[in-house]
Amino acid sequence: MASTSFPSSGTVQARSPRLSLRWRVVDIVVASVLGVAGGLVFALWNLGYGPVTAPLEAALPGLQALLYAVWLFPAVLVGLVVRKPGAALYGELVAAAVSALVGGMWGWTAIAWGAVQGLGAELVFAVLLYRAWGLVPALLAGVGAGAGMAVMDLTFWYAGSRPEFAAIYAVAAMIGGALIAGGGSWLIVRGLARTGALSRFAAGRELAERTDS
């Protein structure tokens, strides 16, 4: 009696591999794990970013935002790996929360930055209807995350700055976002796919198939 009320999906034939936008458990857990790893990278970067970016700032004020894009990579990375709505936002949020939990450097404010930066990348993936995951979408998502960072920094840290400074800062943030967060994440995903670690993800299988043939 019980067996009749359950669909016998065991006998379902192969369907077209159209990917569902619903999050699987493995999507959630791996997105979380990548976010946590990103948070650990943030914690290291929080300690060392000052001296690294100071020369840029001295060369052209606002240019330091180029390298601040290190704080943006989990958004694009998690988006590219998981390919589900909300992945970029979730990855960046987890990374921000973890960096707060580990270092506590900016306390809870890190979460606000994580949310807006993640949203920047998320919007790009959403505009592309969660269908495009190549290098160009990755770069654009990096730009989106960079724009989010510029908005946050220019309203919080540099609210009183002149338009020239703000413009340099915003452009640098977006270029840095594209190159470091976008291009960097794209390269990381390719590297990960080659190791077979992403075999449960479309991102990993596509690359494996390409190198197969």
Binding site: S5, R24, V26, S32, V36, P61, Y90, G107, A112, G196
Partner: protein, 841 residues
Amino acid sequence: MRSADSRRVANSRSAPIPDPAPSIDEDAALALSAGAASLAAASWSWRPAGRRTPVLDGLDLAIAPGERVLLLGASGSGKSTLLQAFAGVLGGDDEGEQSGALRVDGRDPGAARGRVGLLLQDPDAQLVLAKAGDDIAFGPENLGLPVAEIARRVPAALAAVGLDLPLDADTTRLSGGQKQRLALAGVLALQPGALLLDEPTAQLDPEGVVEVAAAVAELVADRSMTLLVVEHRVDVWAPLVDRVIVLDEGRVVADGPVADVLREQGGSLAERGVWVPGRAPQHPAPPAAPPGAVLLRAEGLAVRPGGGDIVASGIDLELRAGEVVALTGPNGAGKSTLALTLAGLLEPAAGSVIAGEPPGTAGTAPAGWSSRDLVSRIGVVFQNPEHQFVAATVRDELGVGPRALGRDEEVAEIVEPLLDRLRLRPLAAASPFTLSGGEQRRLSVATALATAPPVLVLDEPSFGQDSRTWAELAALLAAHRDAGGAIVMATHDRELIAALGARELRLPRPVPVAPAPPAHLVAPAPPAHLAVPAPRAPSTSARVADSAAVAGPPSRSNDERRIWEMRDRVPDAASQGTDAAREAPPRAPRAALVERLNPVASIAAALLPALLLVVTIDVVSASVAVLLQLSLLPLLGVPVRTLLRRTAPVWIAAPVAALTILLYGESSGTVHAAFLLVRISDGSIELALATALRVLAIGVPAIALFARPDATRLGDALGQNLRLPARFVLGGVAALRLMTLMRDDARLLDRARRARGIGDRGVLRRVGGLVLSLLVLAIRRGSSLAIAMEARGFGAPIARTWTRPSRWRAIDSIAVVVGLLVSAAALAAAILTGQFNAVLG
């Protein structure tokens, strides 16, 4: 499917009876639902997406309720896949194609959630929450069981696996065997009808193997559960099972009683790497020559893991050419730490390690050598091969050491023969991470041999290996020994010690450094013979049981005190050698307000007022906010020194941001200086002051309100008070548990790079190289954790039970409101004085 699930919820809410059954007393009903399950496959096939051939192909088998079955087969024969399929966690249509039928109790496995319990290999990739009791409750919570039922099951499950732990025991401090038994308890709390074990002891030391096997034997003794276990150590499991099934290339090739199958198939099984009793792999010939010159000498050596306490001391050792020394001893005795210290990867805590170069000369300390020198003199093989891989292909991997030595022209001459000798040629172009466990082991030994170092140091080289890899490993090591090399290996493996004729250096059981834990931390031992379904009164020390008693007398103050006690615990250094030194918060009679706030309240009180403050940039609002906050901060109860230390970054960042605005801020009034983009004016001076104050007004409370909540408490609050989706919140909490592991991984990866000869590079290149390996390890653990979590009902479309109520108290609302009032007052002051300076527009 959804409606079926919601029916289950309705059932389990009223009484935990899954199917229409006469309503009798609760225990009888539970026993009914907990009967053994049947498992069946009818010409079932599974082809994972991205593979051309099925992993399992037209599989037919039937396992009756209560039957105990050992599943054997070479690696890649689809054993793990089959277990995951029965557990209903193989994934949907995205992940592969299936045909034929698979049944649990005659139903689709996905619909039989909770009927099948799955235990995986890696103890670290199965535990979800930080405390033992919370972790066991995780599965039943996912199934939406009533709180009282969960409170009953948790201590019973813990007792059933013979674990004598308090329910609030920290899961990171347990040994491998304890962790694995705790994971088993988490599975048992689901009261499954079938227990599926996927190489449950492959990553355990001999002590842990015995613990886990004994716990399982106890559980299946009365046939109340069906058992299906995948293992290549037949001797451990043969006494426990009735039947053996052998898979090969996705099909059943043998099936029958243990003795019959082993008699008929023993030879071919042993060839495929199965450890068949009575068919031990061949041992290499004993050493031909007596030991020669001393290659490495340790005197009065004391060792400690990076950043940890001394784990072993007073060690004297002479390692001679042509001999093998085995470092043995119980867990935590410091075998691995000693091996890494001898290899020059850890600094000795006391005493000396001296190695001769060339052999026989006075020698120097390996810890002081460059990475380049090290790789030519001491080869290191790590317990987990994935820690030491640094290249994109197997061929490049073998060339890393020779290249580091600048022998670029000879690389091919060294690498190509190694590829053949270790049967790695077909894999030459593959990524080392894609190799099977045995292949990875061969490769890791080969990379160490590539630079022909006189000394080899190995950490648990035979751990979890099948008999075929084991025999190859023993032969390789014997060849190194007979060629005049010396070997030091940390190992538990008696057979390997015998096979290599190793001299044994036994480390004593570590003496506890810290005093024994206070009596109140040790729960009264539950009777070990207690079977799972047996009802048991909730233990008084059981936190889950306590907090579950929501209907009982108000226990708020008790709750608070308990949380504080747990934060106040002194780490037990003896229980774990590595990184036991965690932060011990200072003692305090009562938790500070900031500790008692609901985490969601601290987040809201930090961020919502900030949203108001950022709308304007002016001196009045910022200074009013700072003054009010400074007068209110003492109420949080954070000691001034702690607060200053934590907020130090903000006190530095505020003037730096102000300087930027001073130079590049909007100018007005008198201009004092102007060059390039810089324009210092009256206006920019005022804005700079406003910026500094505003950064403080937002940053200081955000940090002051941040009390480093433990992940479980934060997750409970986000899920219950903020009502964020439970799946995401718990996914994040589970991942946070892996953070400590990731940090340890990062340390090991850095050491392994030194051992591989590429540790002399700059910090940036070293960190860059680490990131990919770290992510691979993290994703692997994450993928395994996802399977374990899903098998425990995680992600089911069921309203989950929260056994730890996260309370929102009046003080939480007050904290948020006060924060908002401060910002409102600051804005009002700015508006009234005409200083309001909108940021937008």
